[in-house]
């Protein structure tokens, strides 16, 4: 048995870290491809930007201020991944000590808005009728759950990058290229499945 808080926290955490539906994870992978563990400060900043973005649309939809058509979001999400991947390839990995590029804020926060639309449709289907007075706590718990999932995913990505780049000595440029091409490739596949013709 769970409390309302724990229930929605678990739903949020498991939603973003769902291996069967990994589009949000793929975005985080694309977002983190240009970083190594030495950029952890920048990554925290970036993750905060993403959180800011998806919280805005999630809360907006949760309070029923806005609604988003599911089929449009499912096309937009892979597009956010592809654009992030292309940006990675064009600009290359971050240098040691380099601070965040201005476009990174846009990628994280702006595309966060779009991923938040996806989260909100999921949350809506998990809300119980007659519990509107609990909405704030449900939204907060779900958002914290997403945060937790997000932190875990980012840490795993950075750990793998550390292993590949710092331990196995693969050049950062190649590693960024490999991750970005992977993210773009899978997203093209997702897009192919979503486009209605």
């Amino acid at each position: 048995m769970d409390s309302v808080f724990w229930t929605y926290l678990k739903l949020g955490r498991d939603h973003i870290a769902d291996l069967g539906a990994y589009d949000h994870m793929l975005f985080l992978l694309a977002l983190c491809a240009v970083f190594t563990i030495s950029h952890w400060r920048q990554v925290i900043l970036l993750a905060t930007g993403f959180t800011l973005g998806h919280s805005i649309t999630l809360i907006g939809a949760g309070l029923d201020i806005i609604r988003f058509p599911m089929d449009v979001i499912e096309i937009l999400i892979p597009v956010t991944i592809i654009l992030t991947g292309i940006y990675n390839l064009r600009r290359g990995p971050l240098e040691k000590g380099e601070s965040l590029r201005r476009n990174h804020y846009f990628l994280a926060a702006g595309f966060g808005l779009i991923h938040g639309m996806g989260f909100s449709n999921f949350l809506r289907s998990a809300l119980m009728p007659g519990e509107e007075s609990e909405l704030v706590i449900q939204l907060l718990a779900f958002n914290i759950g997403i945060e937790l999932g997000q932190v875990i995913i980012v840490l795993v990505i950075l750990a793998i990058s550390w292993l590949i780049v710092n331990q196995f000595g693969l050049s950062k440029r190649y590693w960024n290229g490999a991750l970005s091409i992977l993210a773009i490739g899978v997203s093209l596949f997702l897009l192919w499945e979503k486009i209605p013709f």
Binding site: M1, D2, S3, V4, W6, T7, K10, L11, D14, D18, L19, G20, A21, Y22, D23, E74, G118, N121, F122, S125, A126, M128, P129, G130, E131, A178, I181, L182, G185, V186, F189, L190, E193, K194
Partner: protein, 167 residues
């Protein structure tokens, strides 16, 4: 290396749903003080329910439409018998089928059940593994409302399909 990861992810995707199809059902079990009964309402997505029922009877179901299959209600009850059980104070308790209706957005069905003649409910156990045979990530949220403000939530999945609350 890249191809390994790529083919891993792609083959992974084939066995699961690639997109975020929402695999959630909701069930509210509310104690009615005036009727001394549990009133149960269950929200299930209609396309998933049809898919599950078609394994029992391959007729075209057309739930939520005027052309609905005549045996749809009894099929639903059969399916619930297998996938939704309630035990009160340790004893499995049968429920009555009250009816069903389309959800506001027509994407789901509300199923209504009732357990009458209850007194002194101390413990409720729910087993709800509906649709988990179809989807690995199916989550069934059960909320129990007992005596006023109290709320208990169960998040039930194929791996952990049952949970208990004591009052």
């Amino acid at each position: 290396m890249l191809w390994m990861v790529l083919s891993m992810i792609l083959s992974f995707g084939n066995t699961n749903s690639l997109d975020h199809d929402i695999h959630i059902s909701k069930c509210i079990i509310e104690y009615s003080e005036s009727d001394k009964a549990f009133q149960i309402m269950m929200h299930v997505f209609v396309d998933d329910l049809e898919l599950a029922l078609q394994k029992l009877d391959s007729s075209s179901l057309k739930l939520n439409t005027e052309l609905e299959y005549e045996k749809a209600d009894s099929l639903i009850l059969d399916y619930l018998d297998d996938h939704f059980q309630i035990a009160i104070n340790g004893k499995t308790t049968s429920y009555n089928y009250v009816g069903k209706e389309a959800s506001e957005d027509l994407q789901a069905v509300w199923i209504y059940l009732e357990i009458p003649d209850l007194k002194d409910v101390n413990e409720v156990n729910v087993r709800d593994d509906m649709l988990t045979e179809l989807y690995d990530d199916q989550t069934n949220i059960v909320q129990i409302r007992y005596k006023g403000e109290k709320r208990a939530y169960f998040l039930l999945t194929g791996k952990e399909p049952s949970d208990t609350v004591t009052f």
